[in-house]
């Protein structure tokens, strides 16, 4: 017969049983938990609404940025096209091709 005091599994089971009986006392941290939770929820909602409001207010700014970038891109493209045309006229090979 196995001696329960020497059997590691039996000792472990006895420890688990002891731990089950000794539940941690959570009455102190539970006290007024709902109040703290609601305060945190309110703060989180307010932070969320501030971000939402800020992002709505920033929409015209971002729209202006997009328009400015589009105009800038179009100008660069037209400059590149002009440069390419000039390069084609001065490059003898390209000029031959142009004349043909």
């Amino acid at each position: 017969m196995n001696d329960p005091a020497r059997d590691p599994d039996a000792r472990l089971n006895a420890l688990f049983a002891l731990a089950r009986e000794n539940r941690p006392d959570t009455s102190t941290p539970e006290f007024a938990f709902e109040t703290r939770l609601l305060a945190r929820l309110r703060a989180r909602r307010e932070t969320g609404s501030v971000w939402a409001m800020a992002s709505w207010r920033l929409i015209p700014f971002f729209a202006a940025c997009v328009v400015a970038l589009t105009i800038w891109q179009a100008e660069i493209e037209s400059d590149t096209t002009d440069d390419a045309a000039v390069a084609g006229l001065t490059n003898p090979v390209a000029a031959d091709l142009w004349s043909n």
Binding site: L12, A19, N22, R23, P24, R36, R40, L41
Partner: protein, 185 residues
Amino acid sequence: MVPAKSSPSDEQLVEATLAGDDAAFAELTRRHKSRVFGVAARFAHDAAELEDICQDVFVQAYFKLRQYRRDSPFGHWVLRITTYKCYDYLRRRRRGGTLLSMDAMHESGYEPSAPEAPAPHPDLERLHAALAQLSPKERLVITLLELEDRSVQEIAGLTGWSTGNVKVRAFRARAALRKLMEEQK
């Protein structure tokens, strides 16, 4: 005789919360906080962490309430969130390298009212110290199975693992714990 005023069911409180009634959510919290605290206390290493875990659980429950399908009781759904949060905290603590020995825990302002507070039995202190050295998955499964007395099926439902997986992890966790306890001697 004044008829007893029946309290609203969890389902009704969920509906009221979704309609914007914060008092209804406070009532839901009041009803279920003990179970959440009870489970979280097995994993938190101090009162501050316990408060953080429990707040995270209910904050997530509040913001994900629309995703709650009424196929299981609200308490079970909250307990599933609790399990995930506890596992998340265990993983984060392990990554952060804050694996504390019992002595270090006492030195770092360990509060007497905290979970895992000075165990009334010296063997329990050894058990908690050994549990703290297990991997997050091992600690989760052995705590739910042996300390919280949950069935394999329940753990599978809470963690999303298969029952076979739970059994294998529990077996390995138990072996690892036994080895750690032997080494402590």
